[in-house]
């Protein structure tokens, strides 16, 4: 089964594709990434509201400034999530963000891929792929088993496939 999270390749991704290159997988990262900044922002907001009546002056300002920074952090995470994709093409694997391509491997250079799923990953449906001997990990990937199999399929093509086709 081919995993295609987006019906069409986002424009952010397509601008980095070569003319002869075909995007096989394009997925956003798992929304579980929102949980830590969400916990922080909600906790801070709750505390700021709770302690505001007993604070004044610089103390009050400091409490709300910290809350604001943590809410901005949540917003930044959201913007980052919207514009961040893992892309697997017929030639390479890369992560694209608004700022450009941040991580890239040629498929020919990838010798080893491993999948790790934590308890939380199994609970929420995300996993971590570890690439190659450099042990570069990409976490919070949705549909981890499908992604893993799809990438393995690209790495290890069936030698008899072309014979069958003939």
């Amino acid at each position: 089964m081919r995993v295609v999270a987006e019906p069409s390749v986002p424009s952010l991704v397509s601008r980095y594709l070569l003319p002869h290159e075909q995007a096989v997988i394009t997925v956003r990262f798992h929304p579980a990434r929102f949980i830590p900044p969400l916990v922080t922002a909600l906790g801070a907001l709750s505390l700021a509201i709770a302690v505001s009546p007993v604070l004044r002056g610089a103390e009050l300002l400091a409490a709300w400034l910290i809350t604001l920074v943590l809410i901005i952090n949540l917003a930044t995470t959201a913007v980052d999530w919207v514009s961040r994709y893992l892309v697997v093409t017929s030639h390479r694997i890369f992560i694209v963000e608004g700022s450009g391509i941040t991580l890239e491997w040629q498929l020919a250079d990838v010798k080893d891929v491993r999948l790790i799923r934590s308890i939380g990953g199994r609970l929420f449906g995300y996993g971590t792929l570890i690439f190659g001997s450099e042990r570069v990990a990409i976490d919070s990937l949705p549909y981890p088993e499908q992604l893993y199999l799809e990438i393995l399929g690209l790495l290890y093509t069936d030698p008899d496939a072309h014979l069958e086709a003939e």
Binding site: I35, S46, L47, S52, E59, A62, L70, F124
Partner: protein, 258 residues
């Protein structure tokens, strides 16, 4: 320079008398407890949870606080009694409940380290105002100015043979001469040991009140407070110490002025 009241001559005299290493350590060590709470906060924001926790614990035990533990708890109790959140209570509670629920997910999904970081960051909303009360910002508060101007040496009341008392810090003492940094005007003076009838340790008043929030040893020092008389001047029976720094500098490196 702070201890010498920004007098370069006095600073050099202290450096020569106390030695470079002692002066360096003596300058740095008093800063550690003062800066410890802010270092702890910085570590918290830099995601160094264990180090931050240790630094906060150290701050509670060693950093001079502007309030005693009892006074702080009393203020907290008073704030709690006077607290009237109104309708905001409900919103605050709902947000806290939602955050707690998500925290459980985070604990399961991301582990204890990430969860502790989230809790620490959120808690800094309450920690920072508390720190403002307990540990005022070093740059803007007279609390630290008073503390930093105190040298690392114990204060002493030196009684001279003329019954004149001098409060200061003994920088160096040998069989013949004693070098003293006078507390009131920060001038280094020398007394011949034959001029000194007695020495007694004492406590500068401003330093005596600076205690940590939770002192490990709860007993108060029995040292008497230092008396700070005006600088000794005038003719007659008053002994004239050798003034090393100040208006008349007569000490050069390596030898005493005659």
């Amino acid at each position: 320079m702070i201890v010498s009241d920004y007098n370069a001559n006095t600073a050099l005299a202290i450096l020569r008398s106390a030695g470079y290493v002692n002066t360096l350590l003596g300058s740095i060590i008093p800063l550690v407890p003062i800066l410890m709470p802010w270092i702890a906060l910085l570590l918290l924001w830099l995601n160094q949870m264990i180090a931050s926790l240790l630094a906060f614990t150290a701050a509670l035990l060693i950093s001079p606080a502007s309030l005693t533990g009892k006074a702080f708890l009393s203020i907290a109790h008073h704030d709690l009694q006077a607290y009237q959140g109104g309708g905001w209570d409900v919103l605050s509670f709902l947000l806290a409940a939602l955050a707690a629920l998500l925290l459980i997910f985070e604990l399961v999904g991301f582990g204890i380290r990430a969860s502790a970081r989230s809790v620490g960051l959120a808690a800094s909303v309450a920690i920072v105002p508390i720190m403002f009360r307990l540990y005022p910002l070093p740059a803007s508060d007279v609390f630290y100015t008073n503390l930093l101007t105190q040298p690392w040496l114990p204060a002493e009341t030196i009684t001279l043979t003329t019954h004149q008392s001098v409060t200061g810090y003994v920088l160096e003492s040998d069989q013949d001469w004693m070098e003293v940094l006078r507390a009131e005007d920060r001038i280094v003076v020398q007394y011949h040991t034959s001029q000194v009838s007695s020495r007694a340790m004492c406590q500068i008043a401003v330093v005596a009140s600076e205690r940590p929030l939770f002192p490990l040893i709860n007993t108060h020092s029995e040292l008497p407070l230092c008396a700070l008389p005006p600088p000794a001047q005038g003719p007659g029976g008053v002994l004239h110490p050798r003034q090393v720094t100040g208006m008349t500098t007569c000490q050069t490196a390596g030898r005493r002025c005659e």
